[in-house]
Amino acid sequence: MRKMKKRYELLIYVFITLCSFVGLGLGVELAGGQLPLGSDLLFIILAGVIGGIGFPMLLSWFKRKQREPDMDERTFRMMKDYLLGAFVVVSLFSGVLLLVLVGIGYSTIELGLIAVYGGAIVILMTAGLFVVKRF
């Protein structure tokens, strides 16, 4: 029963992620392929942080009725190892990417591209953290 519930939880997360991507696609489509700038971008980032981190944290706070904890010393250790590994991989990948870009003749990078790259890394690392936490 518990396993079934976990499976549904995973499906819900997958559904929400898919909806986010559809929403992103729709947004880009409606905005005519232009990414938002200035205060609009700040608002979108804030909404993303609140919706993506604040809301799940609030949900887990209310879900704390079960006696078995969500995390323990092993989970923390695994997450620490994962974050350390991810930091090394991201650093190396960014360095290589930078070298390649310089190598093919780029001398400047758009701020928007860095924001997208940073956002993608945060999303991937957060998704990885959730996966690590479940093991």
């Binding site: 006696r67 078995e68 904890p69 969500d70 995390m71 323990d72 010393e73 092993r74 989970t75 093991f135």
Partner: protein, 67 residues
Amino acid sequence: MRVINRVRELRQQRSITQVKMAEDLAITRQTINAIEKGKYNPSLELALRMLAYFDVPMEQLFYLEEE
């Protein structure tokens, strides 16, 4: 040298489920499973809590694999 434990044996002798033990020791069921399979060595604190939980001396629960 590997650390061998008799957690599963002692737990089954006392008819305690992994879920019950996880709740009593405030750890996750996955951690108990990992300890029982020898994939994870608990911290000294958790090991001492386990000793108190089963009420056995250290050498009865954890010992080093002889070469």
